[in-house]
């Protein structure tokens, strides 16, 4: 049975941890609110942009366009987006598990390159068999425009000159605070929906020529999509951290109340024991008849 002093120390140390998790939760909540607002405001653009790209390219039917050119996947690149920091529950580990499964599947047919984003992914792929082409970590959340700009230029170049045959992105999409959704998205070639055009379809006017309109749109496609994925991941990260810290605080509370109960029981028991001893002594003295 633990002594009172041990128990008091343990309770105190759990209280200290609880204060830390509480503070981290507060910080995560503030960041989450900001990230969440941004995601909600920008989603209309993020979602319409690819839709428009698909609908315009479908009208044109340009299988040879550098962005739309579908070829056999001899060499593919996978961008894996995680967070820089931990303490956000299963946010990173779930994503990295999914990444491993995906890479194992693709390994047989294609040569695989990886670009990890976020310290957790960088560390994970350092020890893996896959070739890491580039990596981004430290303050990723502050450098999203810069990173998406540089990465999109790199990917564009590699894809257009056929050094890569496909680019995938694996990231946590923000769904709700209860948990993110792991999403795998093919960034390149741009998916061109080849569905039938409806019967009432009217050949649209283009101004300027169709190719130039599509080029103008696709010029921003990569960067826009990468930004979208990075911001989604960030909002999801903050939400996960908020939930993880909330749970930790709650668990600490439970642990403390259990320990306090135990502490009181032991204290009570020792008081009872002492009382008994005193009582016994008093009885003994009385019986000796002093």
């Amino acid at each position: 049975m633990p002594t009172l002093i041990d128990l008091r120390r343990r309770i105190q140390s759990i209280r200290n941890s609880q204060q830390v998790t509480q503070a981290m939760k507060t910080v995560a909540t503030a960041r989450y609110k900001k990230a969440h607002r941004l995601v909600v405001e920008r989603r209309p653009f993020w979602h319409t942009f690819p839709e428009l790209a698909v609908s315009l390219t479908r009208m044109l039917n340009l299988p040879e366009h550098p962005y739309l050119h579908v070829r056999r996947e001899r060499k593919i690149l996978v961008v894996v987006i995680t967070s820089d920091k931990g303490l956000c529950g299963s946010f990173n580990s779930n994503l990295l598990t999914t990444a491993s499964t995906f890479l194992e599947q693709k390994k047989a047919a294609s040569e695989i390159l990886v670009i990890p984003v976020g310290k957790k992914a960088v560390n994970h792929f350092k020890r893996s068999e896959f070739r890491v082409e580039k990596h981004y970590f430290e303050r990723v959340d502050k450098r999203i425009p810069e990173i998406s700009d540089e990465l999109s230029r790199y990917l564009e170049y590699q894809f257009i000159f056929q050094k890569l045959d496909a680019v995938y992105v694996l990231y946590n999409e923000f769904r709700s605070i209860l948990g993110p959704r792991i999403t795998l998205s093919r960034l390149l070639p741009v998916v061109s929906d080849s569905g039938e055009l409806s019967a009432t379809y009217l050949e649209p006017d283009w101004q300027p020529e169709a190719n130039r309109v599509v080029d103008y749109l696709l010029k921003f496609y990569l960067k826009n999509q990468l930004q979208h994925f990075l911001f989604e991941s960030q909002a999801a990260e903050q939400a996960s951290r908020m939930m993880a810290m909330e749970n930790a605080t709650k668990n600490a509370e439970e642990l403390i109340s259990d320990l306090v109960l135990l502490l009181n029981k032991i204290r009570q028991a020792s008081i009872t024991k002492e009382l008994l001893e005193i009582q016994t002594a008093v009885e003994a003295i009385r019986q000796q008849g002093v």
């Binding site: 319409t48 425009p145 006017d205 101004q207 300027p208 749109l217």
Partner: protein, 91 residues
């Protein structure tokens, strides 16, 4: 054919930061690359690049409103107009 012409358009103007306009409109003018384009209900499908200027639109309750844009793309389909703008200048 004329019976099929819708009375109004659904106009959406979206920038990377947020949804700028979502409204039912009866007339829209947008800055094309070679000057303003006027679009009325029943306009044939159009995809165009935009220059800089203001999108001027008249809502179904006859209010005229303006929103500035800098570059972008407009897509006109039967009864809806979609404008994406400001792609290049987000940072």
């Amino acid at each position: 054919m004329s019976a099929e012409i819708p009375a109004a358009f659904h106009l959406r103007v979206i920038s990377p930061e947020r949804l700028l306009v979502e409204a039912e409109v009866i007339e829209v003018q947008v800055p094309g690359l070679d000057g303003y384009l006027g679009i009325w209900p029943g306009h044939r499908p159009l995809n165009a690049c935009l220059g800089s200027g203001e999108i001027i639109y008249r809502t179904t309750d006859n209010r005229e409103e303006k929103v500035p844009v800098k570059g972008g793309i407009i897509q006109v389909e039967n009864d809806r107009i979609l404008v994406l703008t400001g792609m290049g200048d987000d940072d």
